[in-house]
C-alpha cells in the first residue's frame, strides 16, 4: 500500500497501455460490416414505405391538373422523375407497366440535373437529395414536386410526405402548387394538411 504512495503527485499521465482494448475497439468497428454483407446483395427489393409512397404518387396524378402546354398531344406520356438514385424508382416502374395515369402512358426516369427535371410532370425528391434542387423550385413551372423531408418543404416543394405515428400523411403547400401552375383538386386538399408558405 505504501508503494503506491511513493508515486510522485505529478504522475498524472496514465502509465497504462492496452493493446487489448484496440482489439475490442476493432471488434465493434467490424460488427456493422458483417451486417452490411447481407443488404449489399439485396438491392432488388423495395421497402414497404416506398411501395406505399409510390402508390401515393400514382394516386396524386389523378387529382392534379397540369397546364395544357405541358403535354404535346393527347398521346404524350406522363413523366415521373426521381431525383438521384432511389429504390422507389423500381416500384414506380413496375406500376407504370401495369397502369396508366390520366389516360396516358407513364414513364419513369432517374434525373440529376435541372434540365432533366424540367421535362418531367412529377418529381420525387428522396430525403438527402434536396440539395440537388435548384435554389428556387417555382422556376420549375408545371412540375408537381413530391418530397419527404422538412428540408424539401422548406425549399418550396408542393407535396411533402410526413409520418404520423406509423402512418404516412402528406402536407400540401398550396401557394407552391399555385406558383407551379398546377390545379390541385379539393378532394386531395381535404386529405392533406394544407399550408401556405412563400419560399
Amino acid at each position: 500500500m505504501s508503494a503506491a504512495a511513493h508515486l510522485p503527485p505529478s504522475a498524472r499521465a496514465h502509465p497504462l497501455r492496452l493493446p487489448r482494448s484496440f482489439a475490442l475497439l476493432a471488434l465493434t468497428f467490424a460488427l456493422p460490416l458483417l451486417g452490411l454483407l447481407s443488404p449489399l446483395g439485396a438491392q432488388t427489393s423495395v421497402s414497404k414505405e416506398y411501395q406505399i409512397k409510390a402508390a401515393f404518387i400514382y394516386n396524386f396524378t389523378r387529382y392534379v391538373d397540369w397546364p395544357a402546354h405541358r403535354f404535346e398531344d393527347e398521346a404524350s406520356p406522363l413523366l415521373i422523375a426521381v431525383l438521384g438514385k432511389h429504390q422507389i424508382e423500381q416500384e414506380l416502374s413496375s406500376l407504370a407497366k401495369e397502369r396508366s395515369a390520366k389516360g396516358r402512358e407513364v414513364r419513369v426516369i432517374l434525373v440529376s440535373s435541372v434540365e432533366e427535371m424540367a421535362a418531367a410532370h412529377v418529381l420525387f425528391v428522396p430525403v438527402g437529395e434536396e440539395k440537388r434542387l435548384p435554389p428556387s423550385i417555382p422556376h420549375l413551372a408545371g412540375l408537381l414536386t413530391v418530397g419527404e423531408s422538412t428540408e424539401f418543404s422548406r425549399r418550396g416543394g408542393v407535396i411533402t410526405f410526413t409520418l404520423v405515428a406509423d402512418k404516412i400523411r402528406f402536407e400540401i403547400n398550396q401557394s407552391a402548387g399555385e406558383r407551379a401552375g398546377l390545379r390541385l383538386s379539393g378532394q386531395l386538399l381535404k386529405l392533406a394538411t394544407v399550408i401556405r408558405k412563400e419560399p
Binding site: M1, S2, A4, A5, L7, P9, S10, A11, R12, A13, H14, L16, L18, S21, L24, L25, L27, T28, F29, L31, P32, L34, G35, L36, S38, P39, A42, T44, S45, K48, E49, Q51, I52, A55, F56, Y58, N59, K85, H86, Q87, I88, Q90, E91, S94, L95, R99, P126, V127, G128, E129, K131, E151, R154, L163, A165, D166, K167, I168, L188, L191
Partner: protein, 656 residues
C-alpha cells in the same frame, strides 16, 4: 411522440454475441430476398393508403399512456426549447427527479431521494450504452456532452427498472435516444455566447450513402464560466471541452435496422487540473420477424479516462455484449428474454496523498439473463407483466431481481397501474475492493504512538443494497388537450451502504486508520409521489405543472444529512407558447425545497426565440433569473460546492 420503449420491451437492452450477429445478418438477407415486389398497394385509394402502417419496428413498443411505470418522456422539441446547454439541466423539469448543480462542471441527479455528487441509484443509458461508472457507482455528468439537437427523446423512469435493466436501475432509469441519421439530413450550425454559458458551437452534417443508408458527423466545443463562491467571488471552476460523433443508420428492409455510432468527448477544468476523456463505439442490429417477434443484438466498447487532482487518475474500459428475443406465445402472451455479458477493467493511479491507491487494477465480469412475460389477460383492458433478471458478478455472486406489474384500463382514456419489484445496487469498486484509502479526517496519534490518518477503505464484506419497491399510478386523459399523471411509491431499502467504525491500523508514515464501508443492519424507507398535469389550450400553447413529494427515513443517528439530500417538496411550472408563427416564448418556474444546510430556492428560466425564414433561428435565454446566485448542494467529501449564478446567453441556429 407518445411512443416509448417500455419496461416490458426496452428497445435499448443490451448484451450480445458476434455469432448471433452473423446469424441474424444472414437471416435478414434471406428475408429480404423472399420479399414480394409485385406492387401490392397499386389499387388502394388515398384513404386506404393513409391507413397502412409503415414502421413495423414500433409494433412492439407501446403507448406511453399504457405503461405500468412512472415515466416521463421529453421530446426533442421540449429539450431544445428548455434553453439548457447540458442534458442535466434539461432534466430539471421532470417530476420526481432532483437535479442539483454541485459546481460549474458537476451535477448530481437522483430520483426519489439519495441525491449527492456520488448519487448511485440511477442508471443512465445513451442509445443503449450505460454511462454508469462501476468505480464509484454513479454518473459523470461532465463527460456526457450530448448535442441536444440530435436527441430524439429522453425517457425518464422513476422507480426500479431492474427487471429489465438489471443492477443499479434502483431508483430510476434515464434513457436517452438520439435521432436516426435519416432524420438529421443537411447542415446544422449552432453557436451561443453569454456570461455563464460563455461560448459554444456545433457543426453537423447529415448525408446519405445510398437510399437505405444515412450518416451524420458532428463536432463541437464549449466553454462554461465560473460559478460563484458564497461571497460572490468567482469559484474558479470554469471548464471547457470538445466532442465529436459519427453515426450511420442502415435500413436494409422495413423490418431490419443496423446502427453504428462512435464518439469522443474531452473536457477539462483549468484550476484544479481535472480532465476527462471518453471514447465509445456501438453497433446494434434490430430485426423483426413478425409484429410480435424479433431480435436485437448490440455490442459496445467504452473507454473513460479521468485525471482528477482531487481524487485520482482512473481509466475504465468496458465491453458490453447483449442480445434479446421477443415472441408471441398463443394469443395472450408476449415473451421477451435476453442474455448479456459485460467486462469492465478499471485502472487507477494515485496523484495525491488524500486519496491513496492501494490496488491499481480491477476486473469485473457481469453475466445476465432476463425473461419477461406480458400477459394480456383481458385484451386492451388488463395486462399483467412478470419478469426476473438474474445476474452474476465476480464479487457479490448471483443477484435476483424479480418484478410484477399490472396495467388496467377501465376506459380508453384512463390507466390504473401497480408494480412491485426488487432491485439491487451492487457495490462499487470503491466500496468492495482494496482500491482506495480516502482521507476522511484529521491525523491522530494511534496505537504505538504513531500518527494515523482515518481513511475510508473498501471491504469485501460489503453486500449489495436492496430495494423492495411498491408503486401505484393513475393516468387520465379526459380530452386530447388535458393529461394527468399521478404516481405514489413506498420504497424499503435494506443493507444500505454506510461507513463503519475503525477496523484496523495499517502502518506507514503516517499510518492509516481504516474505516471500511459496511452495510447498515436497519432498513431505511422512502415514501412519496408525483403529480403532473399538462394542458394545451391551443396547438401552439402548452402549460404544465408538476409537484413532487418525498419523505425519507434512514437508519443511523447521523442520518439527517442523507435524509435531506433530496428536497421534500419540488414544484415546476412550465409554459411553452408560439406567440406568432415566428416567435416562441418558453418560461419555467422551479421551486426546490431546502436540503440539509442548503436553503430552499425559487427560480425562473426564460427563452425567447425568433425564426427568420426557415433557415435561421435566434434565441435569447435567461436561466436562474430570480436571484444573483443560489446553492443547490451542500459541500461533500472531497467535493467543493459553488453556487449557481444567474445566466443569460444568446444563440444562433442555421440550417441549410
Amino acid at each position: 411522440m407518445a411512443r416509448i420503449a417500455t419496461l416490458p420491451r426496452p428497445s435499448t437492452l443490451r448484451r450480445r454475441s458476434l455469432i448471433a450477429a452473423l446469424c441474424a445478418a444472414l437471416a435478414a438477407h434471406h428475408e429480404v430476398l423472399a420479399h414480394p415486389t409485385r406492387a401490392p398497394y397499386a389499387d388502394l385509394s388515398l384513404e386506404e393508403l393513409m391507413n397502412e402502417t409503415v414502421t413495423s419496428v414500433s409494433k412492439r413498443e407501446r403507448k406511453l399512456s399504457d405503461t405500468a411505470a412512472a415515466i416521463t418522456v421529453l421530446s426533442n422539441d421540449e429539450i431544445r426549447r428548455s434553453g439548457a446547454t447540458h442534458l442535466a439541466d434539461v432534466l430539471r423539469v421532470v417530476p420526481g427527479l432532483n437535479v442539483a448543480s454541485v459546481s460549474s462542471n458537476e451535477w448530481s441527479v437522483s430520483a426519489r431521494g439519495f441525491n449527492n455528487v456520488f448519487a448511485n441509484k440511477l442508471l443512465v443509458l445513451v442509445d443503449g450504452r450505460a454511462v454508469y461508472s462501476p468505480l464509484f457507482a454513479g454518473v459523470h455528468w461532465d463527460s456526457l456532452r450530448l448535442v441536444l439537437e440530435d436527441v430524439d427523446r429522453v425517457e425518464v423512469i422513476r422507480g426500479p427498472g431492474s427487471t429489465v435493466w438489471g443492477a443499479n436501475a434502483v431508483n430510476g432509469v434515464i434513457n436517452v435516444v438520439t435521432r436516426d441519421a435519416r432524420d438529421t439530413q443537411g447542415a446544422h450550425v449552432q453557436a451561443y455566447a453569454g456570461d455563464v454559458e460563455r461560448a459554444g458551437g456545433d457543426v453537423r452534417y447529415g448525408g446519405r450513402i445510398d437510399d437505405k443508408t444515412y450518416y451524420r458527423v458532428r463536432a463541437g466545443a464549449f466553454a462554461r464560466d465560473d460559478f460563484r463562491l458564497p461571497d460572490g467571488r468567482p469559484a474558479g471552476d470554469s471548464w471547457q471541452g470538445e466532442h465529436g460523433a459519427v453515426r450511420i443508420d442502415h435500413h436494409p428492409a422495413d423490418d431490419a435496422k443496423l446502427v453504428w455510432q462512435a464518439g469522443g468527448t474531452s473536457v477539462g477544468t483549468a484550476r484544479d487540473a481535472t480532465d476527462a476523456h471518453n471514447v465509445h463505439t456501438l453497433a446494434r442490429l434490430t430485426k423483426d420477424w413478425s409484429e410480435r417477434s424479433g431480435i436485437e443484438i448490440q455490442a459496445y466498447y467504452d473507454q473513460a479516462r479521468r485525471n482528477e487532482s482531487r481524487r485520482a487518475n482512473t481509466r475504465i474500459d468496458t465491453l458490453d455484449l447483449s442480445a434479446q428475443h421477443s415472441f408471441g406465445l398463443g394469443e395472450q402472451h408476449d415473451i421477451t428474454w435476453g442474455l448479456g455479458y459485460r467486462h469492465a477493467e478499471t485502472r487507477l493511479a494515485q496523484n495525491n496523498f488524500t486519496v491513496l491507491v492501494r490496488d491499481e487494477r480491477h476486473e469485473s465480469h457481469l453475466g445476465s439473463f432476463f425473461i419477461q412475460d406480458e400477459f394480456h389477460l383481458l385484451p386492451d383492458r388488463l395486462t399483467l407483466t412478470g419478469g426476473v433478471k438474474v445476474e452474476h458478478n465476480n464479487y457479490t455472486g448471483f443477484e435476483f431481481q424479480p418484478g410484477a406489474r399490472a396495467a388496467f384500463k377501465p376506459t380508453a382514456r384512463q390507466t390504473i397501474w401497480a408494480a412491485s419489484s426488487r432491485a439491487v445496487r451492487t457495490p462499487s469498486v470503491l466500496e468492495y475492493s482494496d482500491a482506495f484509502a480516502i482521507a476522511a479526517g484529521a491525523p491522530f496519534p494511534g496505537p504505538g504512538g504513531g500518527i494515523f490518518v482515518p481513511r475510508l477503505v473498501g471491504s469485501d464484506d460489503v453486500r449489495s443494497e436492496e430495494l423492495w419497491a411498491t408503486e401505484l399510478g393513475y393516468r387520465f386523459q379526459p380530452t386530447s388537450k388535458v393529461h394527468l399523471d399521478l404516481a405514489v411509491f413506498y420504497n424499503r431499502y435494506e443493507n444500505l451502504v454506510g461507513i463503519g467504525g475503525i477496523s484496523g491500523f495499517a502502518p506507514g508514515t503516517p499510518g492509516t486508520a481504516e474505516l471500511p464501508f459496511t452495510n447498515h443492519e436497519a432498513a431505511g424507507e422512502t415514501r412519496g409521489g408525483e403529480i403532473a398535469l399538462t394542458v394545451s389550450p391551443a396547438s401552439s400553447w402548452r402549460i404544465s405543472a408538476s409537484y413532487s413529494l418525498l419523505f425519507v427515513d434512514l437508519p443511523g443517528a447521523d442520518a439527517n444529512p442523507y435524509e435531506r439530500a433530496s428536497p421534500r417538496n419540488q414544484v415546476v411550472l412550465r409554459s411553452s407558447h408560439d406567440l406568432t408563427r415566428r416567435l416562441g416564448l418558453d418560461a419555467q418556474l422551479r421551486y426546490v425545497d431546502n436540503l440539509h444546510n442548503v436553503p430552499a430556492y425559487l427560480t425562473a428560466d426564460l427563452r425567447l426565440a425568433y425564426r427568420h425564414g426557415d433557415h435561421l433561428e435566434f434565441a435569447l435565454v435567461g436561466r436562474n433569473l430570480l436571484q444573483d446566485q443560489h446553492p443547490e448542494q451542500a459541500p461533500f467529501h472531497l467535493t467543493p460546492v459553488s453556487e449557481v449564478p444567474r445566466g443569460v446567453h444568446g444563440s444562433l441556429t442555421w440550417r441549410f
